[in-house]
Symmetry: C2
């Protein structure tokens, strides 16, 4: 494995088009879909063709570049209104990951400052957001591997890998860097209902020749009780200023189970995932998705059978051993020590 | 709902044949398969046409009756050897539930004592094991409902219902009795990998006009944190003499999460589920099933991708609020107070 080139890329920019690897079709088919219009990218985010907090931020940034390509006119000043409408549409595509808002804000600020033809500069900024994310993840990987040291085994949840980011991954970045230093035992939870662990994580690792073992989500406690693991490593969709973490449903459960078994719990995420406007996690919007993700189709008309399908949950900071970002590591996160990441 | 007649029956005995509702085909198709030979019943237990600790015990008892029907001869004394071979085969069909061994032992002891033609008596004993289980479950239901009192909401795991027993159910027996007394809010965890919660529990409850809400296994912690529930209610596959409980994978996880959220945890099971030979749960065999239950088919030849698939786990007695049996309720179970059930 080459540290700088993981085998899989979720997002590519080629010939002024955005290419997204359709993650709904993995692991059966590797299919890049081509996008030239921002509303189509908003749909791709909503329907999870692309997913993962950093990856949807980057995709949205490229979508703004597409929007500017489409509407910019040196003779009609209304083009910026149209781009701003599409930015709003992109921002509403999914509620929990703050990287989406973060990337769109960077793009919007740049648009307001550029006075001449913005196409080249805006496209360059989207590419920079993408490239910066890869570099951040490589730093996170190395810092996280330092924290873990010699590990007997780790468990990850959902997919916080190259597929969820610009490249290299956050949680899987830490795992990649740790594998380079000798880590052998990697478990991945399958992550119902969308099965990101089964369909994406073990597949992505295998593309880089890394061996892993899939478990059902509900066997994590039995794994901790009976098998050799010492770290849980996950990504994040939004981190509040006090270190509370919103991440894929099941994360909070793993954090409690880890505490119970005296297993350490790491959140790996770029600082673009931190929402400094929220003092605690309680105000992070938790997305609920359709009941059809859980219910067998034959129940559709049965009013006695319902489903409750939150796809993120909230892990309080006091269950987290370390938050690893590209700007440094915060152990036992709280409102005070999180501030070290704000510089 | 009629307390004595739930809408669904997993096991029927008609015209000297055993009928098993094929639970692999639910909820799409209600299909009773007919059995006349014990080895076919052993296969039906192994491949989960019938499942649930009490239900596989009852099915095995009927299978012994089938075996006696097939082999008994007044002129050739070797028939009993053949029946005993089939009893061994039945006993090996699944390892964790002790009800299987318990029922087969009762049948074998009776066979040794009957001196004349055993067919009628052995068939009657199997029917009695079946009928006693239903009565036990109705008692468990009432005792459990007494313990729960006025509940704001409950969560159950797997299927410990009519489908898993002779009828009425253990955990779902408690829920049925509680619904009669006003319980309104019932959550069911989907229970990967086999989806007993999604395919069986919410379906079974709907057949009795009881409304329920399905959740993914990994959202149980978020449910406990944010929604109104005060009891987790599960069945059991084997209970050790100290109150340690082996049950469907995910049970141990729920018990830890319940403790963390100060939610009470009930195990409902007939005393036939107690293995008095085991001082603690550590020696209960935990069945592992095939990796194919977890892995997408396209991974079959990928040696980098493995699965770890225990289908039961072990919940220590100190995480359990109450074990409810037909002989009474044991609060805060341990080696001493469990003895009250031994009379």
């Amino acid at each position: 494995m080459n540290l700088n080139n993981t085998a899989v890329a979720a997002i590519k920019w080629e010939d002024n088009k955005l290419l997204l690897l359709d993650q709904r079709e993995l692991p059966n088919t590797v299919n890049y879909r081509s996008y030239t219009q921002a509303p189509e990218v908003a749909k791709a985010i909503k329907n999870m063709c692309v997913r993962g907090a950093p990856a949807i931020g980057i995709s949205a940034a490229y979508a703004v570049a597409l929007s500017v390509q489409q509407y910019y006119s040196s003779t009609n000043e209304n083009w910026l209104q149209q781009v701003n409408l599409e930015i709003q549409e992109l921002n509403a595509s999914r509620p929990t990951a703050v990287n989406l808002t973060w990337a769109l804000k960077l793009m919007q600020q740049a648009l307001e400052q550029i006075k001449d033809n913005p196409i080249a500069k805006i496209t360059a900024l989207a590419k920079k957001i993408h490239a910066d994310d890869i570099v951040a993840n490589q730093t996170i990987g190395e810092l996280g591997a330092n924290v873990i040291g010699e590990s007997i085994g780790v468990l990850t949840h959902c997919n916080a890998g190259a597929l969820a980011t610009g490249g290299y991954g956050t949680a899987l970045g830490v795992i990649r860097s740790s594998v380079q230093r000798g880590l052998k035992t990697i478990y991945a939870a399958e992550t119902r209902p969308w099965l990101q662990g089964a369909r994406l994580t073990v597949w992505e690792l295998a593309q880089d020749n890394i061996s892993s073992t899939l478990i059902s989500d509900s066997s994590a406690a039995e794994l901790m009780r009976t098998q050799a693991i010492d770290w849980i490593i996950v990504g994040a969709d939004r981190i509040a200023a006090n270190g509370d973490v919103a991440n894929k449903i099941g994360t909070y459960s793993l954090a409690i189970l880890a505490k119970f078994h005296q297993i350490k719990f790491m959140v790996a995420a770029p600082t673009s995932t931190i929402d400094w406007n929220l003092n605690t996690g309680s105000k992070i919007p938790i997305e609920h998705r359709t009941a059809q993700e859980l219910l067998p189709a034959c129940y559709t008309k049965n009013k006695l059978i319902n489903a409750w399908n939150p796809v993120f949950d909230l892990t309080p900071a006091n269950l987290i051993t370390a938050i690893v970002t590209e700007k440094g590591v915060v152990f036992n996160p709280n409102s005070n020590n999180m501030k070290t990441l704000q510089c």
